[in-house]
């Protein structure tokens, strides 16, 4: 089965939950860091690297000597990555989404496939668990293409039958949607503060139309207000777990430790959460890593 750990608001504890769940997971599991802009899961799981590869996206390369300035490419491109200005053909590879349209439509063969580097894909073992992450190149604007390639690599490296725990990026726009769209169950990690509850509402709105089982982990429970519980009740969202507001947990995180391992009380909560999430696997409906 595939579990996505998402949040809306950043810094609510996605990585804490993902690292601890990986640690507490009773079955073979692959931990996947899809927060490629700010990947942090490896800082807690300390994986031993088994391999890495560069991820690239196809972008056009121009051979202006063949260009007749017919403008078919610039009329097609929706991202201002190819422009014909008078009798000048210009390519802006940083803007390109890699759709391949300009190369396909050019009648003269003046545009051919080249590459832009998206970042790295790194994989290995973290204890018993398998691990894979994407890390975007500094200056790269687009996360979803790298995320898609991490998922492709995941399908190749994941042991047969392994479950998958995805650490998603914050927010509710395209990167977050890309991280949760393949999941069997979505875990929304929030904190009981006004910002936490507002962004939980945004995440709920963004992900609910996918029709997947979804529930909430209230992190730092005891701070802020009760509004998060009212919100969950009103919207029929189950509370999968509550992790108390505890300075010992914050300090364990600050030391780079897996909270479930470092703080026994939190360990119990996260083991129970793992069991609860396992119950969503069902008999046959759940996906395996190979089907991401």
């Amino acid at each position: 089965m595939i579990i996505a750990i998402a949040s809306g608001k950043g810094g609510t504890g996605k990585t804490t939950v993902a690292a601890s769940l990986t640690h507490a997971w009773p079955n073979p599991v692959v931990a996947v860091d899809l927060d490629v802009e700010a990947p942090n899961l490896h800082l807690f799981l300390h994986p031993e690297e088994a391999g890495r590869q560069k991820a690239v996206i196809e972008v056009p390369v121009a051979d202006e000597s063949k260009c007749t300035y017919c403008r078919k490419c610039s009329e097609l491109c929706q991202f201002a990555a190819v422009k014909v200005l008078g009798e000048v053909l210009m390519v802006f590879p940083e803007m390109c989404h890699g759709c391949g349209g300009c190369i396909a439509i050019c009648p003269e063969g003046a545009l051919t496939p080249g590459e832009r580097e998206l970042g790295d894909i790194i994989w290995g073992k973290a204890g018993k668990a398998d691990f894979i992450m994407g890390r975007s190149r500094i200056g790269e604007a687009m996360s979803p293409p790298l995320m898609r390639q991490v998922k492709t690599k995941l399908a190749q490296i994941a042991p047969a039958g392994a479950d998958v725990i995805i650490d998603a990026p914050p927010g509710v726009s395209c990167p977050a949607v890309n991280a949760v769209m393949d999941a069997d169950v979505i875990v929304l990690v929030t904190e009981p503060t006004p910002f936490g509850v507002f962004d939980l509402g945004l995440a709920h709105k963004a992900f609910a139309p996918m029709g997947k089982p979804m529930g909430v982990v209230v992190n730092r429970a005891g701070m802020g207000t009760d509004e998060v519980y009212h919100f969950c009740r009103r919207n029929g969202l189950d509370i999968f777990a509550e992790i108390p507001y505890d300075r010992a947990i914050a300090e364990a995180y600050a030391e780079g430790r897996i909270v479930a391992e470092a703080v026994p009380a939190a360990g119990k909560i996260l083991t129970a959460l793992a069991a609860r999430l396992r119950s969503f696997a069902g008999d046959d409906g759940a996906k395996e890593a190979s089907r991401v």
């Binding site: 608001k9 700010a38 396909a104 927010g171 509710v172 963004a206 600050a254």
Partner: protein, 294 residues
């Protein structure tokens, strides 16, 4: 006109709570929330919306089944796995559709419509600290970078009209599209980090991004007392890279209390916490004045 954007790399380090306090201290400034995906600044500044505009950007492909011959061209050419095969006609999954128009262009039956997407709303508002420009991207939408660019243009226009010398923006987390759009061409980036492995790791990435765009940075270590050892590492990192350390803020439940009350840290607290934040602002404004004089 000086444009400050508050960033962090890692989310949840305290950007918004600090930006709200700075907005109070910075007056007169145009305030801007560039985290259009998960905006929170309005919860502290309680803007009264003066003007609402819809944000339309990009298109999405929609197949007309009655005209489709199910030839399969769209599915073959789509690089984004957005075409879901069907017995009579395929359909486009809007979550996967990148809006590239390849299927529309190459469909031999001309059976694919090209519809404008409405991605969100943006607002001009009044707050107790001055005018504010902000937005809400609709959930699961794209083009946040374009919406960020639009907000920055609106903020600049407002600052020009009212002869306000400063724009103060709360930025998005991460280092991708909306952050690049917030950062490129800005005058100064305030980076809020926290003494955790994640905070330190993501600080290094956002600092490198700022260097890439040649935007000078100042660093704030929030919740510094959570781990004195990690704070010392971050301070050492900053020194090694020659980064301007604006100051440190202690971990305090009062930050959440202020949030619950819908107030800034310095409206809520008159003690050492508020004092620290004021000192940071004072360091920042001195730095800006020196930078402008130079």
């Amino acid at each position: 006109m000086f444009e400050i954007v508050v960033l962090s790399g890692k989310g949840g380090t305290g950007k918004t709570s600090l930006t709200a306090a700075f907005a109070q201290l910075a007056q007169p400034a145009v305030i801007c929330d560039l985290d259009v995906d998960a905006p929170d600044l309005h919860m502290l500044l309680k803007p009264e919306i003066l003007r609402t505009e819809s944000f339309q950007s990009g298109h999405e492909a929609v197949i007309r089944p009655e005209d489709c011959t199910n030839c399969g061209t769209c599915g073959e050419m789509c690089r984004f796995d957005a075409v879901i095969p069907g017995d009579d006609a395929p359909a486009i999954d809007p979550l996967h559709c990148e809006g590239c128009k390849v299927c529309v262009t190459f469909c031999p039956a001309n059976a694919i419509d090209w519809q404008l997407r409405t991605c969100g709303e943006w607002y001009h508002s009044e707050t107790r600290f001055g005018r504010m420009v902000h937005a809400q991207l609709y959930p699961a939408q794209e083009n946040s970078g374009r919406l960020v660019a639009l907000l920055r243009e609106q903020a600049k226009e407002l600052a020009r009209q009212r002869q306000i010398p400063l724009i103060l923006s709360d930025g998005p987390p991460g280092i991708g599209c909306p952050v690049i759009s917030s950062l490129s061409g800005a005058s100064f980036a305030v980076i809020v980090t926290e003494p955790t492995p994640s905070g330190r790791h993501d600080l290094a990435r956002i600092v490198e991004l700022c260097a890439h765009f040649k935007v000078p940075v100042g660093v704030i270590v929030n919740k510094h007392d959570l781990s004195p050892a990690r704070t010392a590492e971050i301070v050492a990192d900053c020194k090694a890279k020659g980064l301007f350390l604006l100051g440190q803020v202690p971990f305090s439940p009062e930050v959440t209390e202020a949030m619950v009350a819908g107030r800034t840290i310095i409206e809520h607290n008159q003690g050492p916490l508020a004092q620290q934040v004021k000192e940071i602002w004072s360091n920042l404004s001195t730095h800006i004045k020196n930078a402008q004089a130079a």
